[in-house]
Assembly symmetry: C2
Homo-oligomer: 385 residues x 2
């Protein structure tokens, strides 16, 4: 594979974007990324999105968005891997550039969820689970995660309050991110008294739906010209792994085996180990997922992800900072866009542009995006060179 | 890009498959392709599908199907480009293998449409058009194509009866294809008295919805070992191009500019011209689309695609045989699967396995898959070596 770098990034604020359509949101992120990259066009567009067909009555997002941003003649396609759609789009764009099929690709993730009533969006999110054996039996996505969290608490003797640091860290960091949905700090008291969604998950454990888009421009590393004050951001690791679609088919619900496998492959590609990661944008769709990701990627022993959070090690000054721009919890989780938001935020850290939550000396960053209840997990490692 | 070949193919019959779920259909095609290829596993799975999220309440098709076929640990993703989803999945699998990211990928296209009531599926198909400016105004997909056909007839002075040969050829060829939905010949009289859907398109001009799946195994050419009686099937051209999503945004509705551009690029990659194509699986979702494709790809002058059909040149013994296994019209059009059915059928021709409709001495074949009203068109050229 020829080496690929990220030349530009762009994003919209995550919020209820009533006045912007799906294509306007995607277009805003794409044009920002093109401007950041200093390019006028790309050869390929890879759109990550989970549920536009049902939520927005629009499929064919490749052509739909390429047309809107004024490049209706290139190649464009829509990629879906549930909440992992964004990074799946990024990875397919990466392989397209790495293969030599194109020299410039844009990956954009976009999701517009708040047009749909809550009950409808809950049903649409559940299409990421097994329709026959999970969703069809009445299990919503938050319910599935609640079962996993319940089991984790029982197995490792943690209590609800021990998960508070995940949410507190995410919200504290989001205060400094103008693109975050909730730019407001919370404390342990607010965490504990938050409305319960599916016991033990309350709204402070769960990422909120939202509308948003994020984009990245990918080019071959050898086409870059060194700029003053801006390092090359090279993609040194990229790997995807799947697991059974239904949680009950796994030996244990407490190990994200696809996270471990995709991270291990990405580490090997980069020639590094978890100890070399300076910043980690984890998929904290629920607090329990953040804990399980930290464990699966080698940052903590099984059952000890919560300990890492309690010890402050996930904060920007800690050993393995996560959710540095707010994470899914506080930046927001427009599902198909999230994977690219994570990559955009890692790039900000590696460029030294993560104002307010900059991880000192960050040189290697990892983004991990989870689709379904861990059934499709994609890991990217970026390095400033 | 490193050269890629198709090692195996598989397909299910297209019909109303009430007794098989989405994953069972896809699994049947994948396992057939793996058996044909003589492999036990692949590293990547690329699933082409348009509307499972709404029609089958199931997204995350990558993990969903990888899990079902017993390879839940590799990479798997779902690709969508409306009716072009199948070939888009194939092309992304191709780029993955060409990039060196994997040495064996399976592309599968699957769609299960007949579970949904007719009115619902019509609405879901319309998500391939512009939701705001086409579908939202009441234009169904067949209505959009009827407007194009009406204009074509007016512009080039053709009458309804002149389109009959497209349907007659497709049905005549499907008689010999055990996987075809309609294995029954029709004549001009049957064509003319068929029920009108949207004037001038009657049911003999329109492909039928159906349930089905088709799959192909892709590997690097240099990993193949020559087998007796079976040529290498090399992908010598692969290109995708988009056009405006809405038909009214184009200079003319009668030129498939994305077909021309993707075909031209694929010809250039293969170092050939239209005169070198022995067999062409065109996207005859409607008779008018077959005519426009023939014109855009350089087989006929504008307005003269119909002439080619009238002269018998699209039959297996003609100059440019199309729909040789029944095409979308008579093999059937399970939308997300169609692009891979086309590739599978070209492979059959190049292997000399197109029993009953074999094109004598076929060595170079082309498959062209259209998403939307020409807004996303993907062309592949295969060569027997």
């Amino acid at each position: 594979m020829r080496p690929v770098a990220i030349l530009g990034i762009g994003q919209t604020k995550v919020e209820e974007q009533w006045d912007k359509s799906l294509r306007e949101l995607a277009g805003e992120a794409i044009l920002a990324a093109m401007q950041d990259a200093g390019i006028q066009r790309a050869e390929g567009l890879f759109v990550g999105n989970m549920m536009s067909g049902s939520a927005n009555h629009q499929q064919q997002l490749g052509s739909y968005i390429a047309d809107w941003v004024g490049m209706p003649y290139g190649e464009a396609v829509h990629i879906e891997a549930a909440c992992g759609s964004g990074s799946a789009a990024f990875r397919n764009a990466l392989m397209a550039v790495a293969s030599g099929a194109m020299d410039c690709a844009i990956a954009v993730g976009v999701e517009k969820m708040t047009d749909s009533p809550g009950s409808e969006i809950t049903g649409e999110l559940a299409t990421a689970a097994d329709a026959d054996w999970e969703a069809g039996q009445g299990l919503s996505f938050v319910a599935l995660n609640a079962l996993i969290m319940q089991r984790y608490m029982y197995e490792y003797k943690w209590e609800k309050v021990h998960f508070a640091p995940f949410s507190i860290n995410a919200h504290a960091n989001a205060v400094h991110n103008p693109y975050a949905r909730f730019q407001k700090a919370i404390n342990e008291k607010a965490y504990l008294k938050a409305t319960m969604v599916a016991d033990p998950i309350n709204i402070m454990d769960a990422s909120a739906v939202g509308d948003g888009a994020a984009a990245a421009v990918l080019v071959p590393l050898d086409m870059l010209i060194r700029q003053p004050n801006r390092p090359f951001i090279r993609v040194v690791g990229s790997a995807a792994a799947t697991d059974t679609i239904a949680v009950h088919s796994r030996k244990t619900p407490l190990h994200l085996s696809a996270a471990e496998r995709s991270a291990r492959t990405a580490y090997a590609q980069a020639g590094i180990g978890p100890e070399d990661i300076d910043v980690f944008e984890a998929h904290d769709a629920f607090s329990i997922m953040a804990a399980l990701s930290l464990e699966a990627c080698g940052f903590a022993e099984p059952g000890q992800g919560v300990r890492l959070a309690l010890d402050g090690e996930i904060c920007p000054t800690g050993r393995i900072p996560i959710a540095t721009r707010g994470g899914l919890k506080a930046r927001g989780h427009p599902v198909g866009a999230t994977g690219i938001y994570q990559i955009v935020e890692v790039v900000q850290q590696l460029r030294g542009e993560a104002y307010g939550t900059q991880v000192e000396g960050a040189r290697i960053g990892m983004a991990q995006n989870i689709g379904g209840s861990g059934s499709n997990i994609i890991t990217h490692i970026l390095r400033a060179e």
